[in-house]
Symmetry: C2
Subunit: 228 residues, 2 copies
């Protein structure tokens, strides 16, 4: 049996001057098409792919989920998602440090992920630039891993301000680091008192059920019921 | 006794079209002034400040060292450096995701760090954009922390390509993560076979002497002898 190569989309730079208007349009298009588009943002190495794989296995099986992996280069994450049996496309940003709404639309239009109810974007690992560009997602999820430290909302305030949900990852490794969750919550509240915070370990499964239920609830709230 | 506030420089966007030429000029100016300028780059939370503090305490005391902390917001890192007793200025990038040569020059001209032989820039935590802008530094150091994973050179190749030295941080936490150093070295060699790699723990001190010696040697190589 031959394995087909992972579909790689070389993204074109956006020509639209008004990304915010385009993002609002994409959100409405997705609502009509019943596509719940989730933008996952974090530093490099915070565990986006591992968290995604753990969530894909736990989400209500009536939800058809798919993934868009955005990277400057390589397709190692897309290969991991496909190996787990989920539809995936690899987006190459051509060196760009973020995705915008037009780039999202290029990815979402790919036949490999057509028909999905919930599409996760694994954005470029970067706590700065992706926060400046609305991708048109219905939900912005920001991951912070325990080893990164509890002061990060003070240093990257826009990213935490844009988060609908903050997922604290790698809590299984908490003993090796002096991360103070109460201090983190206080720092996060300074830029975003509304964000819901989910401490999880994709390794042990701790906290995953609560976060997956929150994703399903957000999906239902976005378009009544999440079904194709 | 009153404590004077940390000097915060609000950086202006660069007006020079040719950053590369300006960076080359700054490097020569620094060589004449006997300032060894070191650009420290990494993801958020890889441990730049902790590594810097550990290095400042170990460097040959005949070297007068100072620090420029670049952040989008906050001065928590600058406060930590000052508390340790070293000259420091805080650079605010006004939301920008990187520093360039003109911004470096604004920082280096501050009287608080004048007379230093070795000036460390703690760049904005970001594995993407800072790699695209030559700061005029004599040495580019890229940190990767063990929790981030051994695949990062594949995903952020330009950053690793620009590194003169790669410091692998948080090796004391290696047991909690499946980081394979041999695999990392192979991945790093794909984009940069020349980079010298230093595994360290700022917490236990392991590897710090070797890295500090390498810094001192690079400084001497840059301008004969590193003294004020």
């Amino acid at each position: 049996m031959t394995v087909s190569p992972i579909k790689v989309i070389e993204l074109k730079a956006s020509v639209l001057a008004d990304n915010d208007a385009d993002a609002a349009l994409l959100r409405e298009e997705n609502r009509r098409k019943k596509v719940f588009y989730v933008n996952m943002m974090s530093s490099p190495g915070a565990g986006k792919t591992t968290l995604l794989l753990a969530a894909l296995r736990r989400l209500d099986p009536s939800i058809a989920a798919a993934v868009m992996e955005a990277d400057i280069d390589s397709d190692v994450d897309a290969a991991a998602v496909r190996e787990a049996g989920f539809p995936v496309v690899q987006l190459h940003t051509g060196g760009m440090c973020h995705l915008d709404a037009a780039m999202s639309r290029q990815g979402l239009s790919q036949p490999e992920i057509a028909g999905a109810d919930m599409v996760f974007l694994e954005n470029v690992g970067n706590l700065v630039c992706p926060a400046e560009f609305d991708t048109g997602a219905a939900l912005n999820v920001v991951l912070l891993s325990i080893p990164e430290g509890d002061d990060k909302p003070l240093k990257y305030p826009l990213m935490f301000e844009k988060a609908d949900m903050i997922v604290l990852t790698k809590i299984d490794a908490a003993e090796a680091f002096d991360f103070d969750e109460a201090r983190f919550r206080a720092n996060a509240a300074l830029c975003n008192p509304e964000a819901r915070i989910y401490p999880v370990s994709a390794l042990t499964g701790e906290g995953m059920a609560a976060w997956c239920r929150a994703l399903e609830d957000s999906c239902k709230a976005f378009f009544g019921r999440c079904e194709s």
